[in-house]
Assembly symmetry: C2
Homo-oligomer: 410 residues x 2
């Protein structure tokens, strides 16, 4: 069972506040492991392996590695590269060459849905080629749409950023006696978990009035009616909407306003749902503000969730232990063992079962009208956003983040 050699770790897809905490877990556990002789990082996700662009992470100082726990975005760089099928181009041959050249026997891929698909294909191809390697996926996504895990590292911190910002925006947006409509646009292409997190401040009376998620078709007419009703009742109206909401015909609401491009996975690149909604209620004649949380919600590590950071670290460390124990072709999962007090543990799911499935909010957790969420969503999210992640400030008043030397592997 013992497999001795080097390991490589890569980060892929959109950045999160805690993807580097998972990297920290991988590095620290790999350095401890006797079977793993060298700990390498791949620059820009899978591209670093294709192009033989690796760095030696064991040459970084232990102190800087520790700072990865509080460093947002993907410090090794990321990519949105879709691996071609084996036989289509040279991708697989190049990857095999890199693995052989550097005696890579362990590969840890931190990423989301598409990355797990890549890891699954690689696992099948490389092992059938005769070069023994163990491949473990480390889950990461702010969207929380990864299948097979109770929740996903990255979500808790983004949810905490959104809930905190919502509570602050509420206080700002209701300060004038002027009946303002405030529309907040939140990330989430197919799953509404992040937008649902904006409801948390409702527990202190400072939540949005209307919440729209992609799980339920959006009705233009009832939207306008609801806004108008709330305006008459309360004056100020606050609306939170996922970028990916679609109308009953399956057309993105954002496409009413903007022509969406497509990324290399064929996903529509969304944006502008806030402005689309604004134009729908502009006839109500009051002041309307659109707030797009944009990149800030996925990299706002200064308000990361302590629970999320710790779990992100542990999924990284668990991936290494699983590989050393002989596993390959699995993604690490998080189990919710207890709700109160919250406790979690870590399990596995075959990569092939993860790829191309999505974890969405159950319909029964959304209200009948499709403009609000119900108690189970609060119960689900609350334990994941608790606790302030302690971070140090640098001499300039900024969060002290990891500084890596990034020494190339020759």
């Amino acid at each position: 069972m013992s497999l001795v050699g080097n390991c490589v770790v890569a980060q892929s897809g959109g950045p999160t506040s805690v993807i580097n905490a998972s990297l920290c877990g991988v590095i620290q556990e790999a350095i401890k492991a006797g079977e793993i002789t060298g700990v390498y990082g791949s620059r820009s996700g899978i591209l670093g392996i294709i192009n033989d662009n690796l760095v030696d992470l064991a040459k970084e100082s232990a102190e800087e590695i520790e700072f990865l726990r509080n460093t947002p975005s993907s410090i090794l760089g990321s990519c949105r590269y879709k691996l071609k099928a084996p036989g289509d181009g040279e991708d697989y041959d190049k990857i095999l060459n890199t693995f052989k050249k550097h005696n890579i026997r362990y590969f840890f891929y931190i990423g989301g849905n598409d990355s797990m698909d890549t890891a699954d294909k690689l696992n099948k191809f490389i092992n059938s080629s005769g070069h023994e390697i163990r491949i473990i996926g480390v889950p990461k996504t702010i969207d929380n749409d990864l299948y097979g895990t109770d929740h996903c590292p990255g979500f808790g911190s983004a949810a905490k950023y959104i809930a905190t910002s919502m509570s602050e925006i509420y206080k700002d947006a209701t300060v004038y006696p002027s009946d303002q409509i405030t529309i907040i646009e939140i990330m989430g292409r197919n799953a509404g978990w992040l937008t649902a997190a904006s409801a948390i401040p409702a527990l202190i009376g400072q939540g949005p009035d209307l919440i729209y998620v992609p799980e339920v078709p959006f009705h233009y007419d009832s939207f306008k009616e609801h806004v108008s009703q709330i305006q008459k009742q309360k004056g100020d109206v606050i609306i939170c909407a996922s970028e990916g909401i679609k109308d009953v015909n399956g057309i993105y609401v954002a496409q009413n306003e903007t022509l969406a491009g497509h990324d290399s996975f064929g996903h529509a690149q969304l944006g502008g749902v806030g402005n689309a909604l604004r134009s729908m209620v502009s006839n109500l004649g009051k002041k309307i503000r659109v707030v797009e949380l944009s990149l800030l919600q996925r990299c706002g590590a200064h308000v990361a969730s302590a629970v999320d950071v710790e779990e992100a670290y542990q999924v990284g460390a668990t991936a290494v232990r699983l590989a050393i124990s002989g596993k390959s072709g699995f993604m690490v999962t998080i189990n919710r063992d207890s709700q109160e007090p919250y406790k979690s543990s870590f399990g596995t799911i075959p990569l092939s079962e993860v790829a191309n499935k999505e974890n969405k909010i159950p319909r029964e957790w959304i209200n009948d009208e499709g403009h609000g969420i119900k108690q189970p969503v609060f119960d689900y999210i609350l334990p994941l956003i608790k606790g302030k992640n302690a971070y140090k400030e640098d001499e300039f008043g900024l969060p002290r983040c990891a500084k890596l030397k990034m020494i190339p592997v020759k």
Copy 2:
């Protein structure tokens, strides 16, 4: 000199992260003062005095008053109401009635430029009417454009939010090997202090490439040239721009894209400079993201500056002490007594000297090309953003903010 009676405090203009810290300073100092018999708050700025809508702040719990230090936005409500001239309508008579009815002998107005103008007019009118009252202005603005004070409470926390967010956006926006243009739109109508704060992360190599502030005319052609040059040199380009930048003809750049409305002070309501800049470089054909910091930058109290919170508290407390000592018609100012270590003290300036003047970035602190800032701006901002303001979390993982009962004064 002793003047015994009630005091009223009001908050006006745009919210900040620390305007309630100033309120906390006023309340706690007023409760201590023997001359002040009742401590009232005016709802929605000056409107609460015009309409006799006061609350009894002495009936709030001491613990909740203390939480005001960490509560963003204006908890008493705000307004953007422009007081008419004496004799034009009933505003002044109504104010005088409220002051007489409740034996108000002290008025503390927390606000920006327009509020100091209001306080100045009121001071002259009411005292000439025979009702003795002492009026002190408490400075507040995220824009830092208030004249007569080294800097203004509210600026440090907004600057810290912007610098922190910039350091996080930098890590996110440079993560792909795809040469992205990222444009960050920051508040600031006539003064570029907030946008200048985005340069702080340059001290850790993570600042914007180009910074545009309203103090220098914006040149369309050189903007496009600079972006193109940086793209060739570095790949990714990050641009920070004030909402209020104007071209050489004095036309707002944002008006290239959007038709601006006007608020009740006749100020153009800006927005959309990010999209205007985007359209100017769209021919460069790379991925372009626009991030508008929007409301978040003025209410992001979870990342408030400890220095700013303390100074905001002290200007409130100082206002009360000044009034009790017999002063009226002044605004509290902050003096920078020492840069290293940073030390400040508090002084005064006549309200009439504050109103309708603006504190802008000196031209010599901006580079010759008008697309970056120089060392003195770093020296000026750095001490104001240092230190994390400690706040408690509530049971839902959100910042624990003040909850006031708001008991009306009959």
